[in-house]
Subunit: 306 residues, 2 copies
């Protein structure tokens, strides 16, 4: 009798990343540390994205990876993705309560049950913090914002491409439907061009968000029928189910309506964002070009200014 | 009758930062966005810290701002600082539960009460994720780790220097008591030197952590008596209560013991970290040199390579 383990692509790649030190497992699925080498690739990729977007003079803003609970509620994220949300809770009891908490902890009981929620939740997508800031009437040309943030998705997975907390770099356009669609289409092309220069086998596909429940299926179908979401996908863990590395989203007037953002003609503003999944891009590069960036092709190295 | 508002230092500075666009308020105390100008200063300061630490060849690792709940529990953070911790909770119910949640949300009721905790908490200090990784016996020279992370502290405050989520850059030394104390002392001097070259009026003071409750007062006294914590403080909001911008902490064998980290002679490893409060350093620079980095002195600009 022979005994062996058959690793599928995802598992084999994860083990390779861990053995090389690029990913550092923590014992919780989807929560990894990364080496300096991994982070360096992300930094060079971000610089490339900055160069690609410079001509339009985006305004850079940066938020911590938490947002006010009130804004989170207003966004209707809980309607569509309750299963992915992260709510931040904290202890605000007395010294007596503290002793009880420590007793629970020592007995291995759940010490978290009584913790009240704080005024914040984890940021679900890098662009979320900007919409509450734009309440009112936009300038005539609208806005173009450059953002980067860690985001949280509660979806523990063995796939190293599906982390619970990861970084998105986004260019967010807020304005008229025309301006916003042009932004989305422009970056769909630019995203493909960037991935081509990085010699990654990318493909643009119509996609949908992981809406919750049966009602969510309708929202997903609608999103696909209207081609509101494109993903640039690259095979990483598996050839059959390539991984979305760049996401081009047209939200129509969803955020403009909820947050009271208007164009100069008084209409609800439309919004679109292009989002780069930074860890996934790095994972795609290591997958297709090998674990040592010194040995990547001169084309890829030049593109990344390595 | 005259009517005027007397702003104290903290309030006046916050208003100035907001008016200039450097800080973007979110409506929740201690949660701010920052402009690209603010972020640029932090990036240049971090590069300076990297140059200052290069000679010792630290190993760079990077974790997302969450840590496994199990490690958080092992760290005994809850014994000392329960009031500051951030526990991440998530929805894992059925479609029926989801409808109930949305109903609560619509009625303005607390929808967060039933949410179970996830396997993660927010990172309380940038160095926390590394200790569980070092379980076992260290190499003969121990370890020197370069880390940066957002950290969470639940302490809503009007003081812009006291954010709920902010970034720490840390050099963490793990090894023998001697090696670890040398690291702490070296960086105490280096930290002062960096701040001097940045023309900031810094002072080293013995300090203590904000331990919870009456029992915590004893821990704080003990920490001070043994001079385990030094802070490099700079007046920012107020001259009377200067702000800790760099923190030099000697943990003795606290983490080594809890996480089973041993030196080659079999003893519990000692640890020390030097932590740079990145937002606070930027706030100190803007406070002392003005809100426009183009007009900072050539000495400061050269030091930051601006």
């Amino acid at each position: 009798m022979t005994s062996h383990t058959v690793l599928n692509g995802v598992d084999a790649y994860r083990e390779e990343l861990i053995a090389s030190g690029l990913l550092i497992p923590t014992g919780v699925p989807g929560v990894y540390g990364r080496s300096g080498l991994f982070e360096g690739v992300i930094e060079h990729f971000e610089a490339l994205v900055t160069r690609a977007g410079r001509a339009e003079h985006p305004e850079r803003v940066c938020f911590p990876p938490i947002i006010p609970r009130r804004d989170f509620e207003t966004s209707e994220y809980l309607k569509s993705f309750p299963q992915l949300a992260g709510s931040v809770h904290s202890f605000n009891g007395t010294e007596r309560d503290h002793i009880r908490l420590l007793n629970q902890l020592e007995k291995g009981e759940d010490w978290t049950r009584g913790l009240p929620s704080t005024e914040v939740t984890l940021t679900p997508a890098a662009c979320y913090p900007i919409y509450p800031q734009l309440r009112g009437t936009l300038p005539p040309d609208g806005k173009l914002i450059d953002m980067q943030s860690y985001v949280f998705r509660h979806e523990p997975s063995p796939d190293p491409c599906r982390m619970q907390m990861f970084r998105q770099r986004e260019y967010v356009r807020i304005g008229t439907p025309d301006a916003v669609r042009r932004h989305r289409d422009l970056w769909l092309e630019r995203g493909l061009d960037i991935l081509k220069r990085l010699e990654l086998p990318a493909q643009a596909v119509i996609a949908n968000d992981p809406f919750f429940g049966r009602a969510g299926q309708m929202l997903a179908n609608n999103q696909r029928e209207q081609s509101l979401k494109f993903e640039l996908v690259i095979p990483i863990g598996s050839a059959d189910a390539p991984t979305a590395c760049i996401s081009c989203n047209y939200h129509q007037d969803h955020f403009g309506h909820l947050f009271g953002i208007r164009t100069v003609d008084g209409a609800d503003a439309h919004t679109a964002c292009i989002g780069f999944g930074l860890e996934r891009i790095a994972l795609a590069l290591f997958r297709h070009h090998g674990l040592d960036p010194d040995r990547w092709s001169s084309g890829v190295r030049d593109t990344l200014d390595l």
